[in-house]
């Protein structure tokens, strides 16, 4: 059965498509900004899910690809005068390539060792960028305000960036759904369940894992470039925030690892909650602590996440929630 013949294939794509369209029609700046943040995390969580949910490798280093890819794209854009779209794609390609190289080293590790190695990578990347001259060292890079004129002014540039992000988010969800429903995806899930048994059944695990890692790293590079372009500057502290990696993990666990809808849903719910916590006077400095407590509760009581729980509880929903 082709993956796209299932209704569940179209559900997350359709939802994000309509959501972006509504924002475009309303043309409100605040709505665009909040949607940008939420969609960014939908893309981050869904791309991480290709590695974490399908392949079963827990990475705390997802933000490295956002940071380094974003830095590279932003460098091309601000220093070399490249147009936004090719710069973003170049950022994504760099992230993917980097994941391929890193994968050769760290994908031999399993379980907790892999997770620990990815934390190390995050710190190493931050230290590298802080000392790398072309990327502006500790002060980072910024876009000359004149550059926005090429996009029809700052306001128009922000809308263009939003449209790109919307398309990238749709692309992530599409790739996620295609991988899940493919022969390749079945191999990844076999690795997740029992890597040794999968290899004995013929799954070329080293190659499959590397491809999954590269695929999951490609999109953050694009998203990073778009995000930094929207902000107009980039600095090491913004680009490599370990807590963003952890928040992406919470979103996946909340929504349901290994499903297409789950991470997207988790990102929307988490960001909604985060917005509430940040604005409430009682919790405003505690939102990360709340994220930690959430993660604990989910792992203890609903390890399959919301979507996983629904699929288990109501088997009929399996066709719709993939």
């Amino acid at each position: 059965m082709r993956p796209w013949s299932r209704p569940g294939f179209w559900l997350p794509l359709g939802a994000v498509f309509v959501w972006g369209l509504v924002v475009l029609l309303l043309r409100e700046d605040t709505l665009r900004e909040t949607t940008f943040t939420v969609m960014m995390f939908v893309g981050m969580a869904s791309s991480l899910n290709i590695l974490l949910g399908y392949t079963g490798y827990v990475s705390f280093g997802h933000i490295v690809f956002f940071g380094l890819g974003g830095y590279f794209g932003f460098y091309l854009l601000s220093q070399q005068g490249l147009w936004l779209l090719p710069a973003a794609v170049a950022g994504g390609l760099l992230s993917g390539l980097l994941a391929g190289l890193l994968g050769l080293a760290v994908l031999r590790l399993r379980g907790a060792y892999f997770a620990l190695a990815t934390i190390g990578i995050n710190e190493a990347a931050r230290a590298f960028v802080s000392n790398f001259g072309p990327f502006g060292g500790a002060t980072g890079l910024f876009v000359n305000f004149q550059a926005y004129q090429a996009y029809g002014g700052a306001g128009a540039a922000l809308w263009t960036t939003f449209i790109y992000l919307w398309l990238v988010t749709l692309a992530v969800l599409l790739v996620s759904a295609l991988v899940q429903g493919s022969r390749f995806g079945l191999g990844l899930m076999a690795i997740r369940e029992d890597e040794d048994a999968a290899m004995v059944m013929g799954v070329a695990a080293p190659r499959a894992k590397t491809i999954a890692f590269m695929l999951s790293a490609f999109f953050p590079g694009i998203i990073g470039t778009l995000y930094f372009f929207k902000n107009g500057n980039v600095e090491p502290g913004d680009a490599f925030q370990l807590h963003m990696s952890i928040e992406a993990l919470v979103m996946i666990m909340l929504g349901g690892q290994g499903t297409v809808v789950g991470p997207a849903l988790g990102a929307v719910v988490y960001q909604g909650l985060r917005g509430y916590l940040l604005t409430s006077p009682l919790f405003k400095s505690l939102h990360l602590a709340m994220a930690g407590i959430f993660l604990l509760l989910i792992v203890l009581f609903v390890p399959a996440g919301a979507v996983g729980w629904l699929r288990h509880r109501f088997p009929r929903l399996r066709k719709v929630l993939t």
Binding site: S182, M189, E193, D196, A197, G202, V203
Partner: protein, 247 residues
């Protein structure tokens, strides 16, 4: 000869797990591999399908030297294996488990073809009614059948069965033996490790015996059970038993 094993030697640190193991396997044959616990039977399987490379020796499969290839390359050449301790992919359905074998095995099928093969194979091993269930929810006997189905899904030339009868009750054993014979009828060569002696004797064409990593006997089931060395390996010195009984 579908499989030629030549002078396989495997050491783990100071432990000599296999010493100079040499035997042949004819196409369409069922070869039983027996021996006391710790004799190196499972290690031999691990060397044959590429989990460990041997320290010395060669494995030649259908005329090709496959010594030291990684397990997934061995699988693609048509050797499948059912584990002694079942290893189902718990969060995947029974059908998907078999589809992994079919997609990545010898024929490298597409998903749609693999689903068809999986349903066929599940019918052969008697799990057709459970195709949609998660593999983790099966009972032990069903998981053993799933192991077998997964191996068969890859349409292998050679099937390595590691104690597929262990832990089954007599009626389940009888049913499994029928399945094994049916698999052989379909043209698959089988090498099986087994502790249930009557079973291995009734189903095997030939039996080889490992003891302390060495091949100590080879022949028809009758020859092997009457071989004094084999009796000694299993029961200790037969003369001593006779003496003890005489006293």
């Amino acid at each position: 000869m579908i499989l030629q094993v030549r002078n396989i030697t495997k050491r783990f640190g100071g432990l000599q797990a296999l010493t100079d193991v040499t035997f042949d396997l004819k196409e369409g044959e069922i070869l039983g591999l027996i021996g006391p616990n710790g004799a190196g039977k499972t290690t031999l399987f691990n060397v044959l399908n590429g989990v460990f490379p041997p320290n010395r020796g060669q494995v030649i499969f259908r005329g090709e030297d496959i010594t030291g290839l990684p397990p997934y390359e061995v699988a693609r050449r048509g050797i499948a294996r059912a584990y002694q301790v079942v290893r189902p992919l718990n969060e995947l359905t029974v059908r998907e488990n078999v589809m992994v074998g079919a997609c990545y095995g010898r024929e490298a099928l597409s998903l749609a073809q693999a689903a068809r093969v999986a349903d066929e194979v599940l019918a052969t091993v008697g799990l057709a009614g459970r195709a949609e269930q998660l593999a983790g929810s099966l009972n032990v006997a069903q998981k053993k059948r799933l192991e077998m189905a997964r191996a068969l899904g890859s349409r292998p030339y050679l099937l390595l069965l590691d104690e597929v009868l262990a832990g089954l009750n007599p009626s389940e054993i009888a049913a499994m033996l029928d399945t094994i014979r049916a698999i052989r009828e379909s043209g698959v060569t089988i090498l099986m490790i087994e502790h249930v002696m009557q079973a291995v004797m009734s189903v095997s064409d030939r039996v080889i015996v490992l003891d302390y990593g060495q091949l100590i006997a080879e022949g028809s089931p009758e020859e092997v059970v009457n071989n004094p060395q084999v009796i000694e390996a299993y029961l200790g010195d037969p003369q001593m038993t006779a003496r003890l009984l005489a006293e």
